[in-house]
Amino acid sequence: MSVSVQEADFDVGAEIAALTAGNVDAGAVASFVGLVRGGTIEAMTLEHYPAMTGKALDDIVAEARQRWELLGVRVIHRVGRLLPGDRIVLVAVASTHRQAAFEACEFIMDYLKTRAPFWKREETAAGGRWVDARDSDDEALRRWAE
């Protein structure tokens, strides 16, 4: 199972290890963990579009597998209310060599950030507010255009 959307936290080390277990060709695992930043933020709630989320993530992973020779992909995205320091997302990619693993991991994150139906709402002492999309995320996506 390569994609999960869940309220529960996840075990980064176990997920990365599981990705290459028993696969003798796996020489490289690139991964990314996104966390709730603190500062003025007291909590963050992740809303999503349940009927679409899994499908959108599956499509992103399928697209990455078409572009690169990958031995394993794992995507976990949490939803619900999270606190500063909590993990939000894990993307881990196994391949024979590091270049494919790094590129595919970045590709999946860039697509996830702009195409997967998640929305963040921050709580601060001053109240709640929806996080604005960042232009830099759209720019990041553009480098993968063919």
């Binding site: 579009y49 995205h77 997302v89 139906p117 998640f118 929305w119 604005d132």
Partner: protein, 84 residues
């Protein structure tokens, strides 16, 4: 013959509802036309016309505002996504 419409995140809050079921009026055959049809109700629905970078999906796939809409479809409107 109806469509199911869903609203998410700040748009859901601004509209005060997470969705509705709507009879597809004659002549409304695209996501853009559906957006304009709903916005024409006036406030708070004008949000749909005003929203910067409104996004939409038909049957759980992101599409543009020229995408076809037909009876039985699930159409979602939402702001740019911010997960990850």
């Amino acid at each position: 013959m109806t469509v199911r419409i869903l609203y998410f995140a700040s748009l859901r809050e601004a509209l005060g509802t997470s969705g509705e079921t709507l009879d597809l009026p004659p002549g409304v055959a695209t996501t853009g036309a559906l957006r304009d049809h709903i916005a024409a109700r006036g406030e708070p629905w004008l949000q749909l016309a005003r929203a910067k970078n409104l996004r939409c999906a038909v049957n759980q796939a992101m599409v543009g505002f020229d995408a076809a809409v037909k009876a039985g479809d699930e159409v979602a409107f939402f702001p740019p996504v911010t997960g990850g």
